[in-house]
């Protein structure tokens, strides 16, 4: 008995931490609401009258999300939800600020803030639904192929004539019942689930080593099927939808999951080679890819053509270390400041200090996702949470790297910040999935009682 108890006393049990979550949530709300108030102060010299509605709406959303977590996933990670609420609030305030400028300039666009608040509410509704309906993430494993097909279908939906709409050279929008949505964002969630479900079952075969080149075990030729299919699909997205960002995102998630599932760095080497050769071919044969690369290498060579990139760089430079202050920059000089370029709008008004804080917040989301994967006890949950975390990491890298000129510019949304409904809803669902897995991973085990040495050898009366 004593040995069993000694083992139990060393047991590591996660605390629920809902109180810490609430405290962080209060801070997160303070960020969103004070940003809104500061914008009003800076532009009209008064606290905006609709602050009550805006702040109240945001608070209600946060409290509903918090209560759902408290009662349906009490052991879930305490940091994820507040970070997301802070990003969402900051994004809303920034979009509202851009709306004010657009209104002043009599622009044909906008206002975006009311619909963004509505989409946030829809996102939180989906978040609550996922936590209420999905008690165990392993249920999803049963739908591996269904979700895989659904994901591929959604991804290719914009290619169907009549449904797909081409906006700004990219065919990533679908028009359904008067609403234009970006099915790629929802496909992202489906495909991460499908990839993880597939790799959990097939990883043993894919882990077999083939030829050894330069100290790296390359996979066997006959196991290349899946990666080639994923590559072909991502190239199809690149060529037909002209969307470099989604193409990189999907292929990247697949390759990283393949690496995590098999523990073979060979897949990373192979994936990088495949994607770079594909992208190079795209550069040679497709003018839209070449344009993006030219805008990346030398935007000032043709400032009229690449004025979006040029203005964004000027904006960041003008913002400097501490920024112009909320409401005092001119982010609307950059076309699409409210969606693709929201990161540079924030960089202009909050400066390097603010933008770094935002990038760190994304880093925290990714870190918490990977932590969930480490804690999770079943392989499917591990892969799923890695996939979801990596989807955040890749997406933020691609879009923030693109607008700041680190890599060629590609159109992707900045999760929770950009104006855009599909992305908002899909990302809230991703956070709900991560919280569900995290709750199951951190919850203490049912106790296993092991009999001690003195108990299973009872002395029977011997004669």
């Amino acid at each position: 008995m004593s040995s069993a108890l000694a083992a139990a006393s060393d047991a590591f049990v996660h605390r629920k931490r809902r109180g810490s979550e609430l405290l962080l949530l209060a801070l997160a709300l303070a960020i969103g609401i004070s940003a809104y108030a500061i914008i009003g102060l800076a532009r009209d010299n008064e606290v905006p009258a609709d602050l009550i509605w805006y702040g109240g709406g945001l608070t209600v959303l946060a409290v509903v999300a918090h209560l759902t977590v408290r009662f349906r996933a009490p052991y879930a990670d305490p940091v994820l939800l507040p970070v997301v609420v802070a990003l969402n609030g900051l994004g809303l305030a920034m979009i509202h600020r851009i709306d004010l400028s657009l209104e002043a300039a009599d622009s044909q666009f906008g206002p975006f803030a009311p619909s963004q608040l509505m989409w946030s509410a829809l996102g939180v509704t989906l978040f609550v639904l996922v936590l209420l309906l999905l008690q165990d993430h392993r249920v999803l494993q049963a739908y591996t192929y269904t979700l895989g097909l659904a994901g591929l279908g959604l991804l290719l939906l914009p290619l169907i004539p009549g449904v797909g709409v081409e906006i700004n050279g990219s065919r990533v929008w679908a028009n359904i019942a008067g609403l234009s949505i970006q099915p790629g964002e929802i496909a992202k969630v489906c495909l991460v689930v499908a990839f993880s479900g597939y790799l959990v079952v097939n990883r043993d075969a894919l882990a077999l080593a083939g030829r050894r080149v330069l100290g790296v075990d390359l996979p066997r030729g006959r196991d290349l099927g899946p990666i080639l299919v994923a590559w072909a699909a991502s190239m199809a997205v690149l060529v037909f939808q002209r969307d470099l960002g989604s193409s990189l995102l999907f292929f990247g998630i697949f390759v990283v999951l393949l690496y995590v599932a098999t523990e073979r760095p060979g897949w990373l080497v192979l994936g990088t080679l495949l994607f770079s050769s594909g992208a190079y071919l795209g550069y040679l044969f497709f003018s839209h890819v070449r344009l993006r690369v030219e805008g990346w290498l030398d935007p000032f060579g043709d400032p009229d053509l690449f004025d979006q990139i040029v203005e964004a760089q000027f904006g960041l430079a003008w913002g400097g270390l501490l920024g112009r202050g909320l409401g005092e920059g001119s982010p609307t000089r950059v076309p699409y400041a409210w969606s693709d370029f929201i990161a540079t709008s924030l960089g202009e008004e909050l400066g390097l200090a603010g933008l770094m804080a935002i990038v760190l917040l994304y880093g925290l989301i990714v870190e918490r996702g990977l932590r969930v994967a480490l804690l999770c006890r079943d392989s499917f949950g591990k892969l799923l949470s890695v996939g979801l975390a990596v989807s955040f990491a890749l997406q933020v890298f691609v879009v923030v790297g693109g607008v700041t000129g680190l890599i060629p510019l590609t159109g992707l949304t900045t999760p929770f910040l950009s104006a855009g409904g599909s992305s908002m809803v899909a990302n809230w669902a991703i956070i709900a999935l991560l919280l569900r897995i995290s709750h199951l991973a951190r919850r203490p085990d049912p106790e296993v009682w092991t009999p001690g040495a003195d108990e299973d050898t009872q002395v029977v009366k011997l004669r």
Partner: protein
């Protein structure tokens, strides 16, 4: 509003942003150590809710619902686990509820799941199979208290 106030507000907002980041990091830091539950706490914890727990679910539970899963034969004979609503997994791996040191058992061999009323046993694709008597389990099969389930050399049983 004067330039000076606006600058103060700007710096204040940046400070708020970083205070949030740092407090999130500090929550993560304190989370790393969890709660190292020590003996008295752990012993006291089940003891306290035990009384209301016994009083409350007892009328809810129908008779004949098993409350314990016991290993009766094999290398791990004597181990047992209380049944709640959680799924119980059995196998040789590290991510299972009861870890069996039985060479004939797969890493993740079988699991017991409940719908709140009955318990079911499912094989999780094991090499040597899970048996109820002489029939191999191929789908979720309901098990009642007293039924013995065999995995490799191990026999487990649900008890009231």
């Amino acid at each position: 509003m004067s330039e000076f106030t606006l600058t103060l507000i700007k710096l204040g907002f940046l400070a708020l942003l970083w205070i949030f980041v740092l407090s999130a990091v500090s929550v993560i830091r304190s989370d790393m150590f969890g709660a190292r539950v020590d003996l008295p706490q752990r012993a006291a914890k089940p003891a306290k809710p035990a009384k209301p727990a016994k009083a409350k679910p007892a009328p809810k539970k129908k008779r004949g619902i098993p409350s314990r899963l016991v290993v009766t034969e094999g290398p791990n004979a004597g181990q047992s686990v209380d049944l709640g609503r959680e799924t119980i997994t059995l196998g040789r791996g590290t991510d299972v509820t009861i870890r069996l040191d039985d060479d004939y058992v797969s890493t993740r061999h079988a699991r017991f799941v409940t719908n709140g009323d009955d318990w079911f046993v499912e094989d999780m694709g094991s090499t040597n199979g899970t048996y109820l008597g002489h029939t191999r389990v191929t789908r979720a099969v309901a098990v009642s208290a007293g039924t013995t389930v065999r995995l490799g050399k191990t026999v487990v049983e649900l008890r009231k």
